[in-house]
């Protein structure tokens, strides 16, 4: 029974994946991709990876979906691209890609039942940080450098996206302007939901220490709230030249880096936390990251400044 549920889920995911790449219209394939993401979320739950499930739903399906849907909408009238491989070539590529998939499948079936060295080690080392959520321990302590670099990747992507602004629009507010909508269900929703969203984000950050959740998942919810408010025309993003906005964006990475380097003095190694205050320090860093990541994610979806005239 359970196995069939999983098999059905897996087949559904593959069917949606096929639809996402084989459909001609970008809009349709994006919709298929979003649903694929939701199916995958359930798959992650089945695999016992609740933190990943939250991230997949929020980022893999949600934010990526929003980004791609917006782009599909804007590029809809773009002329079709011509560099399409010929049918025999596509068949050749299909066979080769199927070969890759089959090879990877064989690897999956051959996976050994390895000794869970890392899982045991991670559980026994968790006391040093005071966090009970093993995934968060890995992200914030054991592999902190990965997390820092990942935040810098987000930051670099934002710098890159902003750098794509037309010269005339540089320094102005990012993205297109959504005119203030007439009072309606959307504006009501955009007024009611954000306070709840902020509470949920804070909750995810707080429980993330000991249960699935964490700064990143919370940040995604905050980012969604920002985007909702913008979509309803209730508020606009500050101009990219705003010093406050820029400080907000670098606050998280800078705090993490600063604490990491302070670890040399306080705990004897870079990115080490003094044992007595590890949990408190991690929560402070996570809070800074929550704010920065939320702003960065939302701004990445909004895009570069493109309004040549200052907003009225």
């Amino acid at each position: 029974m359970t196995a069939w549920f999983d098999v059905g889920l897996a087949l559904m995911a593959l069917g949606l994946a096929w639809r996402a790449i084989a459909t001609r219209r970008a809009f349709d394939s994006t919709v298929a991709f979003v649903i694929y993401g939701l199916v995958l979320t359930i798959a992650w739950v089945r695999l016992g990876a609740y933190d990943v499930a939250l991230t997949e739903a929020a980022v893999g399906s949600g934010l990526t979906g929003a980004l791609l849907l917006g782009a599909a909408h804007r590029l809809e009238r773009a002329p079709a691209d011509e560099d399409r491989p010929s049918a025999p070539l596509r068949a050749l590529l299909a066979v080769a890609c199927a070969g890759v998939a089959l090879g990877l499948g064989a690897v999956v079936l051959a996976l050994p039942q390895v000794e869970p060295l890392q899982a045991v080690a991670a559980a026994s080392a968790a006391e040093a940080t005071g966090l009970l959520n093993p995934v968060n321990n890995v992200l914030m302590a054991f592999r902190a450098i990965d997390t820092v670099l990942e935040k810098m990747v987000l930051f670099a992507a934002l710098v890159g996206v902003w750098s794509l602004a037309p010269d005339a629009a540089w320094g102005r507010r990012p993205g297109r302007r959504f005119p203030p909508a007439a009072e309606g269900p959307l504006t009501l929703f955009a007024r009611v939901l954000p306070p709840v969203g902020v509470l949920i984000a804070a909750h995810l950050l707080w429980v993330g220490a000991d249960a699935p959740g964490g700064a990143f998942q919370g940040a995604t919810i905050l980012a969604a709230m920002i985007l909702l408010v913008r979509l309803a025309g209730l508020a606009d993003a500050p101009p990219v030249s705003s010093r406050a906005l820029r400080l907000l964006i670098v606050l998280g990475p800078a705090a993490f880096l600063g604490v990491g380097m302070a670890g040399v003095v306080l705990a004897g190694a870079p990115f080490a936390y003094p044992a007595a205050h590890a949990k408190a320090i991690i929560l402070v860093v996570e809070f800074a990251m929550l704010v920065s990541v939320a702003a960065t994610l939302a701004l990445l979806v909004v895009g570069p400044p493109e309004r040549a005239q200052a907003a009225p």
């Binding site: 590529l93 890392q118 710098v159 010269d167 990475p253 040399v264 190694a269």
Partner: protein, 608 residues
Amino acid sequence: MIGLEGLLASFGAGGSALPALPVTLPLIGAALAFAVGGRAGAMLALVAHAATVLATGVLIVVVATADAPVSVALGGWHPPLGIALRADGFAAAVLGVAAAVLTAVAAQATGAFWPPARRARLRAARGRRRVSAAFWPLLLMLSAAMATLVLAADLFTLHVAIELLTFAAAPLLCLDGRADTLKATLRYVLFALLGSMLYVAGIVILYGFYGTLDLALLSVAVEGDWPTVAALGLMTAGLAAKTALAPLHLWLPPAHAGAPAVVSAVLSGLVAKGGFVVLVRIWFDMAPGVATEAFVALMGALGLTAVALGSLVALQQSSLKRMIAYSTVAQIGYLFVLFPLAFDPEAQKLTAGAALAGGALQFMTHASAKAALFLAAGVLVERAGADALARLRGAGRRAPLAALAMGLALLALAGAPPGGGWAAKALGAAAQQSFWSDALTAAGALTAGYLGAALVVLLQRCDDVGSPLLWRGAPALALAALASGLGLAPLAGLLPMAAGAAPTPDVAEALAALPPLAVGAALALIFGEAGEARPRPRARGALIARAVDALRGAARRVVAPALALDAGLARWSAASVVLLAMLAALLASLSPSFPSPAATIAALSALG
């Protein structure tokens, strides 16, 4: 040395933080430069870079004097749970040259990329503000990513670092916002991401079978069974795509030729070789025993293909920056010849001996000489307002330092002593694999050919000399001088050379370098005026002139197919097929049952 130790003590327990500094300092600088913005932000970026250079210098000295690699377990967590940063001689050498390239690039960029004054209200100032706001943070992130690539001893950290490198480099390519550079950037990012997904698939397999991604732990655990081979094949193919190893170079020439010269300098010099650093880590530090004779021969053959294709296409370019970009394609190929040179057929494994030292020297020479070439080209092109060689006639006379830099870079790349290219070849020859090192010597002649062809044009007499741009070429010249003096550098403490094995330049060596240079000069004369229609004094009808023209025509027809091949390979679908074919070939060559080329040849000759 007491002063040094005092300095070290201030970095915490025995300098434990030292390897982390080249990673964290530029990142902090990037964040601050972005937040502050404007001229103060750019100043902060320069300060952060200076601090990074200082830390890198100390690290190099420490590594050179220490017996073992300097490493730090981040957070005090040791692998497999934590991540170690490990600075060995190879890392120190690459870090040093990266610091030199980035410093020269930063020095040159204080011209066009310096933020305008706050009061400047012109429309042009808006554009320049945009460009400088992106340039300085991204340059620093690029520096940090490069440092992580050489220092991190964990395959997943390497993945994140290589992504950071890509995302910091990509926006720099299209700062001008033109359609063709945007296209080139998109092709670059898409192809690089394709490569990184193959890499990720590979590390998933490795984790599944060994339960760790730490290079040192893996190196004792890996065996040549089929899942490991599958993982290494996927990772190698992915990294080859990321590093633009021909025939997977579809994105590199348009991207590097279209970007601002300062950006091209750092991209061609450092970023394009990032994937190669990871390949060296994987094959030399982690799985030297998995390599087979067929595999190293395949890597070497791919490398020589890249050298031949890149050089022949470069020889026929009519624009300076495109020519230098194709020479990057060729030089990435050079690096891959390291694999057959370093293979020990008796032990059936890759050995980190003189050949690896030679590979590192090639890396350093190419990085510094290539960056010098692009910086010099930037000065020349800026002055002439075009990068078609036909319009650069005599440009070298206006910017003598830039022209001198090009000349020195030519000598270093073509293998003249005491340049780095020469030392690398000498070390490679010590590896007793004469076919591969002879091929490298021949390739040096091609390099001298296309660079010489450009220099001939640049130094031609022209009437409109104008005011000379004397000092603009200084950063380029400094880098070129570094490249052409690397053979004298005391690198024995860093690179795995046997004591006293460092080659010494003498008269015999200098004479040995002459034949390739002479061939290069001949090529330069034959292809010297490619792409431009100069009215020639034909009326005299001298026999010799006609013979020379016939020779030129014939030579150009011989190499013309390279252009057509290159244009074909630049198509996405062609690159797709090549990528999958390369993956298949890598997997086949790595499988233990695959016959080694030597055995095949022996069997064939026995048949005959």
